[in-house]
């Protein structure tokens, strides 16, 4: 039952940030939407590791936590003509 509440919140967060990424009039809006989705997906992966009861699955969440910002950084540096 408690899992249903958790996953509902996560699903609402993913839906809202993906909606911002889809609607966003300018590209920075879309980038921020996708970045928010990345962050919520990290939380989803941690929750699912607890749900499946497999601690080693946390490594995948760690990869996203360490590398998730590089794509956003690349787009941001492009927008300020720094690449």
């Amino acid at each position: 039952m408690i899992w249903l509440v958790f996953f509902s919140f996560i699903a609402a967060g993913i839906a809202l940030s993906l909606a911002r990424a889809g609607l966003g009039p300018t590209t920075p809006d879309r980038v921020v939407g996708v970045d928010g989705t990345v962050t919520i997906t990290i939380a989803l992966m941690v929750l699912l590791a607890s749900f499946f009861d497999r601690q080693i699955y946390l490594d995948v969440a760690l990869v996203y936590a360490v590398l998730g910002f590089i794509g956003v950084l690349a787009v941001a540096r492009y927008l300020e003509r720094g690449v």
Binding site: D59, V60, L62, V63, V66, L67, I70, A74, R81, G82
Partner: protein, 228 residues
């Protein structure tokens, strides 16, 4: 008109695929090979991660082929682009303080994490390819965070060549000792300990360094070369 014809053709292909796949039951294992691997893999290879056991032990020759394919892709990018400093002489605007300091601060930790992924490839999810991609991302972070950064070319080429030679040398030693290429000739040790599973950790370290060097070379070539 062309778009309409393309849409109709794609729809026909989709309907055909759906009709063909409809008859295959989903989620039941009908593969004797898979069942055999699952039953025997830990005993044969000593690696608790069955995927690693298959990729680096049973199918290690295919992995050598994959690394070679990645090498030729890196070579192709290197032939098209040249290895120069970013911007090609154009002065780049400096990154903000947070990005510069953050890139310098995070770089060793990302390298360490990549090393962890491929050293522990036989115990936890991940392996050489994943760890190599993480290491290349660390160098990409330096390129993005520090304007004018240029990766040294010779050490990278040396790492790539040495690891390729080591991979083949391990295979040939296995051929001499056990009778077939890439034979697991080292003792398997106890399952779930770091130094176990014979040559699998060594091979994954080699693959991780090679993939990391190749992808970092692709990034360095892409960011430096070409016309504006």
């Amino acid at each position: 008109m062309r778009a309409f014809i393309g849409f109709v053709a794609l729809s026909l292909i989709a309907v055909g695929l759906a009709l063909a796949l409809y008859h295959i039951p989903f989620g039941q294992d009908r593969m004797d090979v898979a069942r055999d691997y699952l039953a025997r893999s830990v005993r044969d290879t000593g690696a608790p991660n069955v995927v690693t056991g298959i990729v680096v032990n049973y199918r290690a020759l295919d992995t050598l082929g994959e690394v070679t394919v990645l090498f030729s892709a890196s070579l192709g990018v290197g032939m098209l682009m040249t290895w120069r400093s970013p911007g090609g002489g154009r002065p780049l605007p400096g990154a903000s303080l947070i990005v510069r300091r953050g890139a310098g601060f995070l770089f060793p930790f990302i390298l360490l994490f990549g090393g962890y992924i491929f050293v522990h490839g036989h115990l936890t999810p991940g392996g050489g390819f994943q760890g190599g991609a993480v290491i290349a991302s660390a160098f990409l972070l330096l390129y993005l965070g520090i304007p004018g950064y240029l990766l040294a070319r010779r050490p990278l080429a040396a790492i790539e060549s040495l690891t390729g030679i080591t991979f083949v040398a391990i295979g040939i030693i296995g051929l001499a000792v056990g009778g077939y290429f890439l034979n697991n000739f080292l003792p398997k040790g106890s399952v779930f300990s770091l130094f176990s599973a014979g040559v699998i950790p060594i091979l994954y370290m080699v693959i991780g360094l090679k993939v990391g060097a190749e992808l970092a070379g692709v990034v360095a070539n892409m960011i430096g070369g070409g016309e504006e």
